[in-house]
Symmetry: C2
Subunit: 207 residues, 2 copies
Amino acid sequence: MDQLKITYFDVDGGRAEPARLALHIGGIAFEDHRFSFSEFAEVRKATPLSQVPTLQVNDVQVTQSGAITRYVGKLSGLYPEDAFQALLCDEIMDGVEDASIKLGVTFGLTGDDLKNARNDLVVSVFPKYLRWLQKQLESHGGEFFAASSLTIADLKVFVFIRGLNSGHLDHVPTNLVETVAPKLNEHMQRIAQIPAIAQHYSKNSAA
Amino acid sequence: MDQLKITYFDVDGGRAEPARLALHIGGIAFEDHRFSFSEFAEVRKATPLSQVPTLQVNDVQVTQSGAITRYVGKLSGLYPEDAFQALLCDEIMDGVEDASIKLGVTFGLTGDDLKNARNDLVVSVFPKYLRWLQKQLESHGGEFFAASSLTIADLKVFVFIRGLNSGHLDHVPTNLVETVAPKLNEHMQRIAQIPAIAQHYSKNSAA
């Protein structure tokens, strides 16, 4: 059995979270190496592109969250074997990553710069992605995003929607998703009830 | 047989090019729908996220270049079946996309803004990615980026390196790759000699 280790910030969200969730659902043991924001400057020195997350597979350290999530998704049975369904799964993964990148560039901004950038996201950017995601969900059966079963696409959307609703993002109203694409909230609630996910969050919030 | 159609700018590069090359190598027929930059405002109205490329598979239009490239890579036998080799292939794909996004935000800038942004890429950003790519190539055997055989990772890197060398990017010296990571140029030259690729470029440049 390969030794797996995920290195990422000590937050229950962001770019490592879909991979963590996939491994929990698959019942695959891994080292969940978490560090604080203040440790990032040191941690990044030992990563391939000064970025996290990384996945270590035995002695090989791999970068890029999409690649990592897809790999552990395969290990966990959460990635479609059918090429066309995998295409639809990947499309959702990459679309959410697209939106996440647009959010990412606003971190580090402050004051009016932050307010204006976030306002632009809320008014112009996120609604476009949210409506697209809701439309994809509906046209693929309403329950899952691809393959009529749980895949890493569902986990990627779940983590993104959970973040938007969290109230942790300044100037992003917590009712944005409910207003623009309420079926994504219903999807989020269904995913949250998956036993391994419910257990993961109850454990971490109790810690 | 599925009807495939790729919609993208009429350029021999950018985000659709690895998918076009994969389909040519695989000998898979597709409609190569190209449009001029001035037509983009109209074309994007009919795309899922106002973005290109799109891939149409019969009557389904799909967005996101990584997803598209991976799908046609599978059709063309250019995507590893082994999960770990697929991880290494995806890591390269996503890493190059990362660098491409950083380049992408400089398009539209002018004057000193463009010069400063491009200079930052040349001094700080691209060398990091180029050295990392060269290191990956070397540690995976020196000839290909994953699976000891041609994959979409090779095509993604090929298109990126070809773009950096092209002289079409203002303030990016055409000897940057040769200076920083010369083995990527050797790789590029090997890939360019693949008959389907050589034929593709000789046909287009003659048109």
